[in-house]
């Protein structure tokens, strides 16, 4: 930069200092993997792959297989995605294409607030307000109408997999909707106007032009939501019921990796118990790492492609 004039010593110090802080981020990330791997090694050695295929969680006999936690994480995340992705898509559509600015602005604002509410507040509301509502109104209705599907079975007590999935959906919705809104806004107006000019309706323009143009970004947005849903802890811990048994019925109490950790980690005193819980944490870290990385790569390619 400053080729003329003398290079000040202060510059070297400052640049090194900022560089060290930046590199610290890499060290921390590596440290995360290293520490979790180190602590979970006894469990990895003892249980091997059976840790993922057996559903045996017995702190007394020190026998651990984490199938139900992993299954619960996948199922609750899937419920959240099935609800949140279409909702986010139409909300983003509403904000960008349909609503006049005077409405879009406060709605956008409200959705930002939904993102700002802490997880534990969702947990309180979920346990004391939403779960009783599910038990009284939604679950009896579902089991009456759709009870022949094994998914909609189980005790209608409100807390369980389905309630956790719905609250997760509500929590990731603002994040996914925000990114989708940005994606919609990036579509060149010329493209949309051409389609409108040919006589397309708003929905046709959205489905055939906007979504197709921004599909990479929309997938990236979904991945961001996925990454959040997988690791969400407190809200899920409050409403999922924390039960280590496996079942297909979504009304049943269940657990996820994060909820198991939140409930049991502080009390785990035996080394193998602790090690198994850390191994669960390692699985969660790997899952989110992969999902987040994919989301990054995806969203980066869209930014390059659109020059934004």
């Amino acid at each position: 930069m400053a080729k003329l004039g003398k290079i000040s010593g202060g510059d070297l110090v400052f640049k090194t200092l900022t560089g060290v802080c930046a590199a610290a981020v890499l060290v921390i990330m590596a440290g995360l993997f290293y520490e979790l791997f180190r602590l979970s090694w006894p469990s990895i050695q003892k249980f091997g792959l059976s840790f993922f295929t057996r559903n045996e969680w017995n702190p007394v006999t020190q026998d651990f297989g984490a199938l139900s936690s992993i299954w619960g994480t996948l199922v609750s995340t899937a419920i959240a995605m099935i609800i949140a992705i279409p909702l986010s898509l139409v909300i983003a559509l509403f904000l960008v294409e349909l609503a006049p600015p005077i409405i879009a602005k406060p709605v956008g604002y409200a959705i930002e607030l939904l993102a700002a509410i802490p997880s534990i507040i969702y947990g309180m509301w979920g346990l004391f307000v939403f779960a009783p509502y599910m038990a009284e109104h939604v679950q009896p209705f579902l089991s009456e109408r759709l009870g022949f599907i094994p998914l909609f079975t189980g005790p209608p007590i409100g807390i369980g997999m389905l309630s956790a999935g719905i609250i997760l959906a509500l929590m990731i919705l603002p994040f996914v909707a925000a990114v989708m809104r940005d994606v919609f806004q990036m579509v060149p107006p010329m493209l949309k106007e051409s389609a409108f000019g040919m006589g397309s309706t708003t929905w046709e323009v959205t489905a055939k032009v906007t979504v197709r143009y921004g599909i990479v970004g929309l997938v990236g947005a979904s991945f961001l939501g996925l990454g959040r849903a997988i690791g969400e802890t407190m809200a899920v811990t409050f409403v999922i019921g924390n039960d280590h048994s496996l079942s297909l019925g979504l009304f049943n109490p269940a657990n996820t990796i994060a909820s198991t950790l939140a409930n049991e980690f502080a009390e785990a005193s035996e080394p193998m118990y602790l090690s198994s819980l850390v191994e669960l944490g390692l699985v969660l870290l790997l899952l989110t790492f992969v999902v987040q990385s994919l989301a990054q790569l995806w969203l980066r390619s869209i930014n390059k492609g659109m020059g934004a």
């Binding site: 000040s8 139409v90 509410i117 309706t201 929905w203 989110t288």
Partner: protein, 281 residues
């Protein structure tokens, strides 16, 4: 393209319009539902004792969460002291020195990924580093865990905000003979002040509602926080413990604490966004 009758197309369009409007209304209704319930149930628990007294055993009236309020403030303050400077310097590196270096690309990627690492995993990591070797939970560990959560957020915001500063400002400062560090600290940072402040405050708001990373670090305590070297009471873990207890009065206190946290986080979020928008105009 196959031809479809216009009425059918228009009907589909109207249906989607209606649906998307309903989805937006649904999101707002849920927000309203959550805020109203927390406010209604929380207000009932707020009184003078709530803010000034130590917790009491279940069934004994007159308890409060004063120690947890203080503890939360202390742990969050520690997180700011640890996390903000490092995060900002990392952000400065990304925006000012390492725009196109390989280190910066790796750090940028890692920062984004780290923002998505579940906070409970961060708590576990800090447990392994600061709790396990010492043998007991501590407020320091809690602060460190929150700092690690703030770090990538602050770094990312700093980079974004410095990126908005026009290059002509940097060039002017350098042309006057200022060394790079002076130009960065005195001119670029000052130009981005409003944005940096907003980003930092939003990061603080975000971590002050965190619970999971404190579960195995600061833990909780029924006493005043005498030293951060001990398990330290804090509001969010108190909410968790009280809400999961079978006692009515503890659950009521949990609602009070929830209202306090929610009101604080939302007020700070709304205020900073609003004042940032004012400042930009």
């Amino acid at each position: 393209m196959k031809q479809r009758p216009a009425t059918c197309r228009l009907a589909l369009d109207a249906a989607v319009r209606l649906l998307s409007g309903l989805a937006a209304v649904l999101a707002i209704l849920m927000l309203g539902w959550i805020m109203l319930e927390v406010a209604r149930k929380g207000v009932a628990a707020l009184d003078w004792n709530f803010f000034t007294k130590l917790p009491t055993p279940p069934g004994i009236a007159g308890g409060g969460v004063a120690n947890a309020i203080l503890g939360s403030l202390l742990v969050t303050a520690l997180a700011v002291v640890l996390g903000v400077p490092v995060g900002m310097l990392a952000g400065i590196y990304l925006a000012e020195f390492g725009l196109h270096t390989r280190l910066a690309a790796a750090v940028r990627f890692t920062v984004n990924v780290m923002m998505g690492v579940p906070s409970i995993i961060i708590g576990m990591f800090v447990y392994a580093l600061l709790v396990l070797p010492v043998g007991h939970f501590s407020g320091y560990a809690g602060g460190a865990a929150l700092a690690l959560i703030m770090l990538p957020i602050v770094a990312r915001t700093t980079e974004d905000m410095l990126g908005l500063v026009p290059n002509t400002l940097r060039e002017s400062a350098l042309a006057l003979g200022a060394p790079r560090w002076k130009a960065t600290l005195g001119v670029v940072l000052r130009a981005a002040k409003a944005g940096l402040l907003t980003g930092t405050i939003l990061a603080v708001a975000r971590v002050s509602g965190e619970t999971a990373p404190l579960l195995f670090t600061a833990m909780n305590s029924p006493y005043w926080p005498r030293s951060l070297g001990q398990p330290t009471a804090n509001l969010t873990v108190t909410i968790f413990n009280y809400a999961m207890s079978p006692y009515d009065d503890w659950q009521r206190t949990a609602w009070g604490a929830s209202l306090l946290i929610m009101a604080a986080v939302l007020a700070v979020t709304i205020f900073t966004r609003w004042s940032f928008r004012e400042a930009k105009q």
